[in-house]
Symmetry: C2
Subunit: 214 residues, 2 copies
């Protein structure tokens, strides 16, 4: 059985947000899809280990920002490769409260869902959400998960449903520099060693020093 065939399923890329008491929090996710049109409902799969999962269960709602192809990759890194339990992911970002959830001022548009049901699996909670609010933010072309991997050379956070399978794929052994925080693979024309010390990972904004040659 060739389980890498699962990589050929297509997804978008989203920031899922919720409130942790008075504090906004969120994470990146790809596993979201519409399941019925009357009413408009979606399913969202989220790992038990994600702090956002607990916050969605407590508040009964979640926000979705549809990232655009031109959304700065730092948004994906900032929301995707650290826990909202220990860090304020909205710190320094412009956002507004929409129907009770924090929505950043970036991306194609936002949607807010109230949780109407949920199902537990061994690793993930599957939330069934009904649409209660949606508006455009900046418009543009929605970023697909495939675009994120192929064009931005992004990697998958370990809590994503698709994580294990992807890690099984053999990587080409070349002289490549990889961000040890988020897994971003440097892809510039300039040799990595010659980059200025001020260079930062474009995905997670960590300094040049966290990169390692593979």
């Amino acid at each position: 059985m060739n389980t890498t065939m699962l990589f050929n399923l297509s997804y978008g890329l989203y920031i899922i947000s919720s409130m942790d008491g008075e504090r906004p929090t969120g994470c990146t996710a790809n596993s979201l899809m519409q399941v019925t049109a009357e009413p408009n409902t979606v399913v969202l799969s989220m790992n038990h280990d994600n702090h956002t999962n607990e916050c969605i269960r407590k508040t009964g709602k979640f926000g979705v920002v549809v990232l655009a192809e031109d959304t700065p990759p730092s948004y994906i890194g900032g929301f995707g490769f650290r826990s909202g339990k220990d860090s304020d992911k909205f710190d320094g970002l412009e956002y507004d409260m929409k129907s009770g959830v924090p929505i950043i001022n970036e991306g194609v548009g936002y949607l807010v869902f109230k949780v109407i049901d949920s199902f537990e699996t061994s690793t993930h909670t599957i939330f069934l959400g009904e649409l209660v609010d949606a508006e455009e933010i900046k418009g543009g072309t929605p970023m697909t998960y495939s675009y994120y991997h192929k064009v931005i050379k992004g990697k998958t956070p370990k809590n994503a449903p698709t994580y294990v399978a992807e890690e099984e794929v053999k990587k080409e052994e070349k002289d490549v520099w990889v961000c040890t925080v988020c897994g971003y693979v440097y892809d510039g024309d300039e040799p990595f060693e010659k980059l200025p010390e001020s260079y930062k990972c474009p995905v997670c904004m960590q300094p040049k020093s966290v990169f390692k040659k593979k």
Copy 2:
């Protein structure tokens, strides 16, 4: 509330197949995603009115073919705009039986799932499926739902979760010719009237006579 924001969620495009007794059947679908990696499980949303839904419930398994960008659009039309109850959708197509489900010899690859749980909504069944088989077919780039709409100019069958919302979008009033069977909008350089009588809809293969000027 701008419900058209739901169109910005990204999907792939698949042929879902099953057995109707001794007879292969199936339909097109976009609403499929992976939800856990241990084990590899997906959720599939399928309208109660789809004959394939009943066959999946009876047999407890379903096949998925991931369509490629270069898969002939007639496959989408053939599986998407008529019911498998009255017609043999596999008639004339090359296919093999894989782990008990019919798989056409087209597309990027196939996956077979056994149903481990299902949830009913007012209009759709949400199947939870565990991966039991998967192999490449022809490889290539998976077709996204967005590619199908933008490049192939395809339309959404009425049972899809995204159907109602899309129909609400105002169409530009131009001199356009539309296939009355599948909704394909003629997009060639040649004026539609000058096409030969042998012209067929590239999506559903119906004759020129079924097109109407809007």
